[in-house]
Symmetry: C2
Subunit: 191 residues, 2 copies
């Protein structure tokens, strides 16, 4: 059994990342998501160890401050902590799974400091096209839409730090590209 590899996937919102990822997961086996740790309370129907590892702030901070860091990346959102456990990811990799982390550009930068991930950035063909798609949904307030576009412009500045850049012009080509990255990385010789 070969060890798996760690795949970090980032994209500005509206770039089709979720759709692409769903199709890739349906077509390829051997992929795995890690279960995050969080300090927020479980919601109805959420199960500890399946949806999240629900921990206390003290437990979270103890893990975070280990050396080496217990989290490959972590963030505070609306007063709650969220993190990706180094140990859990390592276990999945050792079991031969390729682990996908679906995280933003700040999280990706942290993972790069703590591990050697393969990183993929999914970009829109242009900011104009992204705006056209977001308006096409018709579900966003003008304020939200402007905020998303400003965030997207900022996140795209991080794209050069990624291993692969997939431009989601045509959905099926973007799906093929992400599948190809995964199949190719499985053939790639590692140190």
């Amino acid at each position: 059994m070969n060890e798996g590899f760690l795949l970090v996937l980032s994209a500005p919102s509206g770039c089709g990342k979720t759709t692409i990822l769903r199709q890739v997961m349906a077509d390829l086996s051997g992929l795995s998501f890690s279960v995050s740790h969080t300090t927020r309370k479980p919601r109805l129907g959420e199960e500890n160890g399946r949806d999240y590892h629900f921990v206390s702030p003290e437990q979270f901070i103890a893990l975070r401050d280990q050396q080496p860091a217990g989290f490959l990346e972590w963030a505070e959102v609306h007063g709650n902590f969220y993190g990706t456990s180094r140990q859990e990811v390592a276990q999945r990799l050792r079991a031969g799974a390729d682990v996908i982390l679906d995280i933003d550009v700040q999280g990706a930068a942290q993972v790069r400091n703590n591990a050697e991930p393969v990183t993929v950035f999914i970009a829109p063909p242009s900011l104009e096209e992204l705006e056209r798609r977001l308006r096409g949904r018709g579900t966003e307030s003008e304020e939200n839409l402007q905020r998303r576009l400003a965030n997207a412009a900022q996140e795209m500045e991080a794209a050069p730090a990624y291993t692969y850049l997939i431009v989601n012009d045509k959905l099926e080509e973007a799906v093929l590209a992400l599948k190809s990255v995964i199949i190719a990385e499985r053939c790639r010789r590692r140190r």
Copy 2:
């Protein structure tokens, strides 16, 4: 138009490289072979510039001894010189083509010294399986077969130096793997 990349492909004989490559070329566009230089005489039907660039030994040696080297790799076989022109490859890459060099492990080592190729080694599942396949063809003398196997064993020692290793266990999976490497490398960010 993005610049293409240089793909070096090596495999011991009997590993199915030619079959894999033919299927990949049929399925993907944008791939190109470079035309080699040689000092041997044209055979009937061979055309200068299409099958080979036919040159004199003096022309070949002048190119070979340029700084930087005029050939990405060269070899002498049965008293004739063969080489892959750096300039011709560079022109194809600039035109946006991905250039495939189908060469042995010695040639691949030379190209690595002269350029930054993506390198793919196609291996049999095992030497035993390679022997079974070669015997299955029924076209080889025992002496030839033993020579091929000894060469294969030696060439496989060079596999760790390659970027990608594709084990040709099932032909269709090996074809998918090589196609995936090419599609993925087209998304890969280069320095």
